[in-house]
Amino acid sequence: MFEKIWARHVVTEGPGGHVLLYVGRHLLHEGATGALGRLAAEGRRVRRPDLTFATADHFLPTAPGAVATDPEIVGMVDGLARHTGAQGIVYFGVGDPRRGIVHVIGPEQGLTLPGTTLVCGDSHTATHGAFGALAFGIGSTEVEHVLATQTLWQTKPRALRVTVEGRLGLGVTAKDVILALIARIGAAGGVGHAIEYAGSTIRVMSMDERMTVCNMSIEAGARTGMVAPDETTFAWLEGRPFAPRGEAWARALADWTTVPSDPGARFDREVALAAGDVAPTVTWGTSPQDALPITGRVPDPAAAGDPARRASMARALAYMGLRPGTPLGEIAVDRVFIGSCTNSRLEDLRAAARVVRGRRAVVPAWVVPGSGLVKRAAEAEGLDRVFVEAGFEWREAGCSMCVGMNGETAREGERVASTSNRNFEGRQGKGARTHLVSPAMAAAAAVAGRFVDVRTLGG
């Protein structure tokens, strides 16, 4: 699949295995304001404004009714509105219900299509690979290059197939699958590779679940992750605002059915995972690879053979304020964050709400929907009331505490159960301690005040 999509987007070949790859979709967020400004300063136009779409997600506040006041943030967001307007780019801006996290709204609007290439100046762009698109994150200079040329110079990554077979147990989610995979292959395990997720477990996953899996491919170091498009994909896309319609839809469908890998396709590397071995998972350290089943204990650095590994584990535990041997289920949390491009879609919110219903949060807990439309849909089902009645804060769409660029951070030393994708030192605020979990596990932590095996909570 990866090979096919790659081959059909090669514009020309350059030296040393480089190809000029055509970009089918370019998504922008306010981080692109600098690149748009540089382009304008050079007197260049955006080559394909019709294939470029923008939103604001990283820096906007998500407190209900809040508006950005920091002059640097206001400058960035206003700059994005001005530049996209001048260049004729569709912009889902402040006040537009379609605004949201770029990786949530791309699919939601039908911008993400099978068999295409999609880039964005954000490392979690692989999320869109769930649709069988070749999607990857790029840097700011590359954003400018794509704006000007609609292409990128790329070398072909190697192909890694991850096959997940079997049924996930009750309470075990897509988030647990990807955390278990990263724990297995390591945070650098996928460097230089494009991952294709296959197997019966992936096949029965919904689009929301597939997006969660693909989203965290970068945390395994991979350039991208993807799932072959199938009936689930097509049914999800049909009728989306920017998806093809009528005769164009029929033509597109005929094309998309040729996208999946042929039986017998060769991969440079293969990894297999058994769904039955995956349990609700919690990270204990400061890399997404530091993940263990909730039934486990904080590991002991002394048991690590490699001295470098021992040192980095010891540092992680010192930062996280954890002692070796502590059962993960005895770790108290100070705060809960449900959101981010990994887990802020309707199904994520439903899963969290199922756990929350009839219970009460005993620590501060936020729910930040991935987009204005996710928020509306959740409200139409009454999920907002479930959360609010349980003492959760129901907020506006955005990245929020996933990264804290907008100032929404946890305090120093605070321990956060978070549905986001990075538990790096300082990711959610200076000195904040992040544990990555699924939405159901985050909700369970909020009502229990500690990590708890969601399977033991009961209906």
Partner: protein, 208 residues
């Protein structure tokens, strides 16, 4: 872009694996314009400085012998995580021109090339050997020769490294990549014509 040819400079060792770009430049500095006054101070900010702003004396770049470092020798997967190019801008603002590692985060690796910083990939044992020499002899220098693709260690040993020939050329000349690509205008336009007839559904017709 500033070209890169050869560089002889003090190198600083950084032993931790998986140093992510959030650690290289914390999120709260990302709204600052590139080259803003004090940009160099953002580099590794939260590990370099105490809460009161005082320098953390143990951190390698705060030690007298390494203050003039223009080269970083790191462990596995340096620059992983967020795509923020500001990580490279902060390194550059501080004065770093080359990063030597057993492996690098993919986007960070590309971002280095775009900003005149040379990323050098060495086998893990060679990188570890370099780091221990730099620990043993603080302030020792390394020489990187991009044209010859060699790196000379403090002990005089020479390591050859591989570098993508295309990126090498761009670095040696400091060429503007957009201008280079626009030189392929004919091929891009031809591709777009094929796309318009072969996959017309790709261009969204109606919106909203």
């Amino acid at each position: 872009m500033q070209p890169f040819t050869t560089l002889t400079a003090v190198a600083a060792p950084l032993d931790l694996p998986n140093v992510d770009t959030d650690r290289i430049i914390p999120a709260r500095f990302l709204a600052k314009p590139r080259g803003a006054p004090g940009y160099a101070r953002f580099l590794f900010h939260d590990v370099r400085f105490e809460a009161d702003g005082a320098e953390q004396p143990e951190f390698v770049l705060n030690r007298a012998a390494y203050r003039g470092a223009k080269i970083l020798v790191t462990a596995e997967n340096f620059g992983c995580g967020s795509s923020r190019e500001m990580a490279v801008w902060a390194l550059e603002a501080w004065g770093i021109r080359a990063v030597i590692a057993p492996s690098l985060g993919d986007i960070f690796h590309q971002n280095c090339f775009k900003n005149g910083l040379l990323p050098v990939i060495l086998p893990a044992d060679a990188a570890a050997g370099l780091r221990s020499q730099l620990h043993a002899r603080p302030g020792a220098t390394l020489t990187v020769d991009l044209e010859a693709q060699t790196l000379t260690a403090p002990d005089g040993a020479r390591h050859r490294f591989e570098v993508d020939p295309f990126r090498k050329q761009m670095l040696l000349t400091g060429q503007d990549e957009v201008a280079l690509t626009l030189g392929h205008e004919g091929a891009i336009a031809a591709f777009e014509r094929r796309l318009a007839s072969g996959a017309p559904w790709l261009v969204p017709q109606a919106g909203g």
